[in-house]
C-alpha cells in the first residue's frame, strides 16, 4: 500500500524532473501519468499506483501548490468519469494500454453513444444494430443527446447484437472511432438556443472486434459500470451557503429593491430555506462518506437539486418583471462547458428544465428510491422474458 508520505515524495520527484514552468503542458501530463500520479487508485502502468483513492488529494494539493497544469477535467468528464472505469474493469490489457493514457491527458476526448430517440428511460430497448462480419462489426443506427461528439475522437457505444433474445441480453459494448467513415455528427439545438448536445448517425460503421469491450451479449452489464460512475461525482462537493442556483436570485433581490413584492418575498424565502437544507443534506452525505458510512441519501440529491433549480430560476424570471420578458441571446452556439448557473435568468430557467431529465428522469429516480431504499415492490415487468424484436415500439 502506498501511503501519503510516499505519494508526496513521488510528486516532488515528478516536479523536480519536469518543472512545470519549463515543461510543455502535454509533456507534463504524460510524465505525471507515467509516474502513476494521474489517478493513484488505478494500477501501476496505467496512470496509478494502486493506492487508496482518497490519497489523490495529497497529490493534487502538491501539484496545485507547484502551479502544475491539470488535465482540464471538466472538458473530458465523460472519458474520465465513464469510459475510463469501464475500460479499466472490462478492457483487455491492450485496450487499457492503448486508451487510458491519451484519455487521461485529454489528447483524446471521449463521448457516450447510449441514448436513442426510442430508448430514453428504457435504455435497454436500444435499436442500433451491430452485425458481425468476420472480424468486424457493422453498425447502423441513431444516437442522441451526445455531448462532446463533435470534439470526440472516441466513443463508448452500446448496440444490439442479438434481437432474438430479451432486451438486456442482446447488447454488446464497443469502443467506436468517431473519425471512421459512416459516423455523422449533427448539432442538436435545444430550447436555450444553443447546442450542447449532438445527434450521431451511424451508417455502415465498421468496428473491429478488437474494440469490443467485454463479451458479446454482455453489454448491459458492462454499461452498468459506466452508468454507476455517472452519479459518483456529486457526493464529494462542498457547497457554500448560496453556492447554487439560489445565489444569483438572492443577489438580485438585494440589489434591486424596486423589483420586490410580498408574494415573491414569501416564495424566495421558502426556496432559500430549501436550498440551505439541500446544502446541509449534501454536506451531511459528504461527512458520512468521509466517515466511511455511505448512505442511500445520494439517490435523493439529484431529485432535490433538479426541482430547486427549476423553481428558483422560474422565480427569478418572474422577479425580473419587464426584464424577464427578454432573453440574453438566442444565437445557436456550441458551448464546450455547461454552467447551470451561468448567463441570465431566462437561460437558467430553460436550461434547468433538463435537470429533471438528464442522467435519469426524476420519475425514474423516484422509482429507484421507492424500490431500493424503501423496499417497495418493483414495477411490473412485461418486457423481461420477451425477445427484443417482439417488444412494442
Amino acid at each position: 500500500m502506498t501511503g501519503a508520505e510516499e505519494l508526496r515524495s513521488r510528486t516532488r520527484e515528478l516536479l523536480a524532473a519536469h518543472p512545470p514552468a519549463e515543461t510543455g503542458r502535454l509533456d507534463f501530463l504524460r510524465a505525471r501519468f507515467d509516474a502513476g500520479l494521474a489517478w493513484v487508485h488505478y494500477p501501476e502502468g496505467l496512470g496509478g499506483l494502486g493506492a487508496p483513492r482518497a490519497l489523490q488529494a495529497v497529490v493534487d494539493a502538491e501539484l496545485e501548490a507547484a502551479g502544475a497544469p491539470d488535465n482540464d477535467p471538466r472538458r473530458i468528464g465523460i472519458g474520465l468519469g465513464m469510459a475510463a472505469p469501464t475500460i479499466l474493469k472490462y478492457g483487455t490489457e491492450e485496450q487499457k494500454r492503448r486508451f487510458l493514457r491519451p484519455l487521461w491527458t485529454g489528447e483524446e476526448v471521449w463521448c457516450q453513444l447510449f441514448s436513442e430517440p426510442g430508448a430514453g428511460s428504457d435504455l435497454a430497448a436500444l435499436a442500433t444494430r451491430a452485425v458481425r462480419d468476420g472480424d468486424t462489426w457493422v453498425v447502423n443506427g441513431q444516437k442522441v443527446w451526445t455531448s462532446s461528439a463533435h470534439l470526440a475522437r472516441w466513443a463508448i457505444l452500446i448496440a444490439r447484437t442479438d434481437p432474438d433474445v430479451p432486451k438486456h441480453q442482446g447488447i454488446t459494448y464497443f469502443l467506436c472511432d468517431m473519425t471512421d467513415p459512416g459516423v455523422e455528427v449533427r448539432p442538436l439545438r435545444q430550447i436555450t438556443g444553443e447546442a450542447e448536445f449532438n445527434e450521431v448517425f451511424l451508417t455502415g460503421v465498421a468496428i473491429p472486434d478488437s474494440r469490443r469491450l467485454g463479451e458479446v451479449g454482455d453489454g448491459w452489464r458492462v454499461a452498468q459500470t459506466t452508468l454507476n460512475n455517472e452519479r459518483v461525482a456529486i457526493g464529494g462537493m462542498r457547497l457554500p451557503r448560496e453556492g447554487g442556483m439560489i445565489g444569483p436570485v438572492s443577489r438580485t433581490w438585494r440589489e434591486r429593491p424596486d423589483l420586490r413584492t410580498h408574494d415573491l418575498h414569501q416564495r424566495l424565502l421558502k426556496l432559500w430555506v430549501e436550498s440551505e437544507v439541500a446544502r446541509l443534506t449534501a454536506e451531511r452525505l459528504r461527512q458520512q462518506l468521509a466517515a466511511g458510512q455511505p448512505g442511500p441519501e445520494g439517490a435523493g440529491m439529484k431529485l432535490a437539486f433538479a426541482r430547486l433549480n427549476q423553481e428558483i430560476s422560474g422565480l427569478e424570471v418572474e422577479l425580473r418583471g419587464e426584464e424577464g420578458l427578454l432573453y440574453d441571446d438566442w444565437t445557436m452556439r456550441r458551448p464546450e462547458l455547461v454552467d447551470f448557473t451561468g448567463r441570465d435568468a431566462g437561460y437558467r430557467y430553460l436550461r434547468s428544465k433538463g435537470n429533471s431529465i438528464e442522467g435519469g428522469t426524476s420519475e425514474v429516480l423516484l422509482n429507484i428510491v421507492a424500490e431500493r431504499v424503501l423496499g417497495l415492490p418493483a414495477e411490473p415487468r412485461t418486457d423481461k422474458d420477451v425477445a427484443w424484436k417482439d417488444l412494442a415500439r
Binding site: 420586490r260 413584492t261 414569501q266 424565502l269 446541509l280 454536506e283 451531511r284 461527512q287 423516484l366
Partner: protein, 360 residues
C-alpha cells in the same frame, strides 16, 4: 461561516438513542398513549420518572456542577427524536429544555438542580405558539405577588413550578399549588395546554424575563425540529410497512407507482429534515451560526412533519381515520408542532432579517 456543523450522530449518541428507544418500546406503546389521552392523567409520570430519574435525561443541558449531566443540545435532540417517534406524553421539551434554558439564562442554581434531577417539573408560562423574539404576554407584579391569566401553557398541568414573565420585566418562579391551572381542550392531547390564573400568587424573581425567554424559545424551536424529525420518520416508516402488507386489487398497494412516488418524495423530505435538525442541534451546542440554522430548521421542519403525518393518514386510508389507530396521534402532534414556538412563516420572517433578504 467557515466551519461546517457536525451533522452526524456519534457512537455515544447512537447508544443513547438505542437506550431511549428500548425504554419507550417497553413503556410507551401507542395503545397506552391513546388510552391515556382520555384519562384524568394525560401525562405519563411513571415514564417521566424512568427517563429523568432512571436515565438522568432531564439534566442533559445542565452542567455537572449544577446537578446535571453536562451534555449538549446534540444529546437532547437525540432524546427528542425518540420521544417524537413515540409521541410520548412527557414534559421533556417543556421542562428539560424550555424551563431549564430559562433558568440557565437567569442563573437560579437551586431550582436548576431540581429540574435537572427530574424530581421537579418546570414549565415556562409563555404560550406554546410564541416564536422566539415575539412580544410576551405578562402578568401584573405588585408587592411580590402576581396577578393575571396566561393561556396556552403546555404541560402546565404536570408542572410543579411555573416560570412567569411579569410586567416589571422579571421572570418569577411560582409554585404550581399557588396558582389555578385549568386544562384547555387541546388539539394535541399528548402535550396538553392549560390556562394559568394567578390571583395574588407569591413569586420569587429569578431573573430578567426578556433574555431568559428568548434563549429558552430559541432552544425550543431548534430542538423541536428533532422531535418533528422523529414524528416524520415514524410516520414514513409505519406507512411504508403498512403499504407492503396491505393488499387491494390482488397486489400490495405499495406497488402502485402513484403511491411509491409519494413515499419516495416523503423520504427525500425526511432525509433533508434530518440534516436540518442536526444542524440546528449542533449550532445550539457550539453557538456558531445558531440563529440562522435554528430558523432554517424550524422553517423546514414543520411542513415536513405535517406532510408526513397527513400522507400517513391518507395512505392508511380508512383505518387511518379511526381513533383506535395511532396515525392521529402523529397528525395532531405534527400540526400542533407547526404552531409551537413560531410557525414556519414566522421563522422565515426572522430569516429575512438574518440573511438580508428584506421584505418590500
Amino acid at each position: 461561516m467557515s466551519t461546517q456543523p457536525d451533522l452526524l450522530h456519534s457512537e455515544e449518541e447512537e447508544a443513547l438513542r438505542a437506550a431511549v428507544r428500548d425504554l419507550l418500546t417497553d413503556h410507551c406503546d401507542a395503545a397506552g398513549v391513546i388510552a391515556r389521552t382520555e384519562s384524568d392523567a394525560p401525562h405519563d409520570l411513571a415514564l417521566w420518572k424512568l427517563l429523568a430519574d432512571g436515565m438522568g435525561l432531564a439534566g442533559l443541558l445542565v452542567p455537572e456542577a449544577q446537578g446535571g449531566q453536562g451534555a449538549t443540545h446534540r444529546e437532547a435532540a437525540v432524546v427528542l427524536e425518540e420521544l417524537g417517534r413515540a409521541v410520548a406524553p412527557v414534559p421533556y421539551l417543556t421542562s428539560a429544555v424550555v424551563a431549564t434554558e430559562a433558568l440557565l439564562a437567569s442563573g437560579d442554581e437551586e431550582l436548576l438542580g431540581r429540574l435537572a434531577s427530574g424530581r421537579t417539573i418546570g414549565a415556562l408560562a409563555v404560550g406554546l405558539h410564541t416564536a422566539p423574539g415575539a412580544p410576551l404576554r405578562t402578568v401584573r407584579a405588585a408587592d411580590g405577588t402576581l396577578h393575571g391569566e396566561l393561556t396556552g401553557i403546555a404541560d402546565a398541568a404536570a408542572a410543579d413550578v411555573l416560570l412567569v414573565p411579569a410586567d416589571d420585566g422579571g421572570l418569577y418562579a411560582v409554585a404550581a399549588d399557588a396558582v389555578t391551572v385549568t386544562p384547555q381542550t387541546s388539539l394535541d392531547l399528548t402535550r396538553p395546554l392549560a390556562t394559568v390564573t394567578l390571583d395574588g400568587a407569591p413569586g420569587r424573581r429569578v431573573g430578567d424575563a426578556e433574555q431568559a425567554v428568548r434563549r429558552a424559545l430559541r432552544a425550543a424551536a431548534g430542538l423541536l425540529a428533532a422531535e418533528q424529525l422523529g414524528v416524520a420518520e415514524k410516520s414514513l416508516t409505519d406507512t411504508v410497512r403498512y403499504l407492503k402488507e396491505r393488499k387491494q386489487f390482488n397486489r400490495p398497494v405499495g406497488g402502485f407507482q402513484a403511491l411509491k412516488h409519494r413515499l419516495a418524495q416523503l423520504w427525500l423530505e425526511v432525509v433533508n429534515l434530518r440534516a436540518a435538525a442536526r444542524a440546528a442541534a449542533d449550532a445550539l451546542a457550539t453557538g456558531e451560526d445558531t440563529d440562522v440554522l435554528v430558523a432554517v430548521a424550524q422553517a423546514y421542519a414543520a411542513p415536513v412533519a405535517v406532510h408526513a403525518a397527513e400522507e400517513a393518514l391518507q395512505l392508511h386510508a380508512g383505518i387511518g381515520m379511526t381513533w383506535e389507530h395511532p396515525v392521529h396521534l402523529y397528525l395532531k402532534r405534527a400540526k400542533a408542532d407547526s404552531i409551537a414556538y413560531g410557525t414556519a412563516g414566522a421563522h422565515r420572517t426572522t430569516l429575512a432579517g438574518l440573511v438580508d433578504l428584506q421584505a418590500p
